[in-house]
């Protein structure tokens, strides 16, 4: 489902790929059994293209990576966290449309 531009993050590379990234990074926390998460996938794909070079967009599968969600107190998916300089600057919980995510990204680029 992910296009080439949507990255895949894991517990193992989170610090390097997200927290230490030079650009803002949007992380989509998702799982296979979460219907609304799957509904968001096309919007995430589209945004990765729209914001190429400005925001890195990627997904973290919570089923396979239990540590990272826990450290951000995530107990509901889908959840989108926008990181800038290693800090969470935006949080979107639940199914939303592409425009809502874009508005959140635009505030930080």
């Amino acid at each position: 489902m992910a296009t080439d531009m949507v990255k895949t993050f894991s517990d193992g590379d989170f610090e390097q790929a997200v927290l230490k990234a030079p650009t803002p990074v949007l992380v989509d926390f998702w799982a296979e059994w979460c219907g609304p998460c799957l509904r968001m996938a096309p919007a995430i794909d589209a945004l990765a293209g729209d914001y190429e070079g400005r925001v890195v967009i990627g997904k973290l599968n919570v089923d396979e990576n239990p540590n990272t969600p826990g450290s951000y107190g995530i107990r509901g998916i889908p959840t989108l966290l926008l990181f800038k300089g290693g800090q969470v600057v935006e949080q979107i919980v639940g199914l939303v449309d592409k425009a809502t995510v874009a508005r959140a990204l635009d505030k930080h680029i």
Binding site: C34, G35, G73, I74, R75, P78, Q91, V93, K98
Partner: protein, 311 residues
């Protein structure tokens, strides 16, 4: 980006919208279904559906919606991803807008359904995704071996509570009356489940602890005794009912005091050529099968309407 006027556009893709699409397609009306953000409707968030006729062993909600969609498409219904942001029903053909496109149609079928109601507490909003949830199938996973609360007393609340016993150490159902609204069979299942207990005549008045950024307890208020207490839980699932998705039509269509579209003589709304089906206009039954039935009615009403105005 204006399209030439279609015969019929259907807003929403739950059982009502997809059944309307099936019948409209078979009547050669070439319906366009604009899926909506929550495509597939409420059944996409359920697991086993056991009360939709025709499936003696039950069927998973998403699978049932997949079948309905494929069936409608088989006969020529076109479905597109997209969320309707505005409609103009003042002069036919009606205008229907999404973020990227604008459509026009001679007839419109509204099947936008209903969305989960929230308690309305600031703490509920603050802790959404951090222990407060409206989707048991999405978030039950995060509460393995933890105690949780479910607010509500209808079928949805009990179904969620029973589902959540797969993960949680204990589920407390908090209901503001002393009797459940749910169907008898759901009540029996829930009452017999050793992991489920009930707080009757009780409302959730606050969720702790927004300062910590996670749910640690819910504050319960017993309406009969006036007593309040904290119930230590790691999560709260809100399943108190649904509110109809009718904001798009404010000022354009007649609604009742609770925001439901008023329909008469089947699926007719207050505007000729505009029909409504499913939960958006039903606060009494709200079942997948009644939604599907009303979707069929809307398609037949639409066909008759289009014939009456000529092509």
């Amino acid at each position: 980006m204006t399209d030439t006027a279609r015969d019929v556009i259907i807003i929403g893709s739950g059982p009502a919208g997809l059944t309307a699409a099936l019948y409209a397609a078979r009547a050669n009306l070439k319906p366009l279904v604009i899926e909506g953000l929550e495509a597939g409707g409420q059944l996409m968030l359920t697991t086993m559906v056991e009360n939709f006729p025709g499936f003696r062993d039950g069927i998973m909600g998403p699978a049932l919606m997949g079948e309905m969609r494929a069936q409608a498409e088989r006969f020529g219904a076109e479905t597109i991803q997209g969320d309707v942001t505005a409609v103009d029903l003042s002069v036919p053909p009606f205008a229907v807008k999404t973020a990227d496109q604008e459509f026009r149609c001679r007839a419109l079928i509204i099947s936008t359904g209903a969305s989960a109601k929230l308690l309305g507490l600031p703490s509920e909003r603050a802790l959404m995704g951090h222990g407060v949830s409206t989707c048991a199938t999405c978030d039950g996973y995060f509460f393995r071996d933890r105690p949780i609360a479910v607010a509500g007393g209808g079928d949805s609340a009990l179904e969620e509570a029973i589902f959540l016993t797969k993960f949680a150490s204990h589920v407390t159902v908090v209901h503001r009356r002393d009797a459940l609204r749910a169907s008898k069979i759901m009540q029996d299942k829930a009452l017999a489940n050793p992991k489920i207990s009930f707080e009757w005549d009780t409302e959730v008045t606050d969720v702790k602890d927004a300062g910590k950024g996670e749910v640690t307890a819910v504050v319960l208020w017993n309406k009969k005794t006036g007593a309040t207490k904290d119930l230590a839980v790691d999560g709260l699932f809100v399943a108190i009912g649904h509110t109809p998705n009718t904001k798009l039509f404010a000022g354009q269509l007649e609604m009742d005091a609770n925001g439901y579209l008023v329909t008469r003589n089947g699926s007719k709304t207050s505007r000729p050529g505009v029909f409504a089906c499913g939960d958006v206009q039903d606060h009494v039954y709200r079942q997948a099968v009644t939604a599907a039935g009303s979707g069929c009615m809307a398609a037949i009403d639409t066909e008759r309407y289009l014939e009456s105005i000529g092509d």
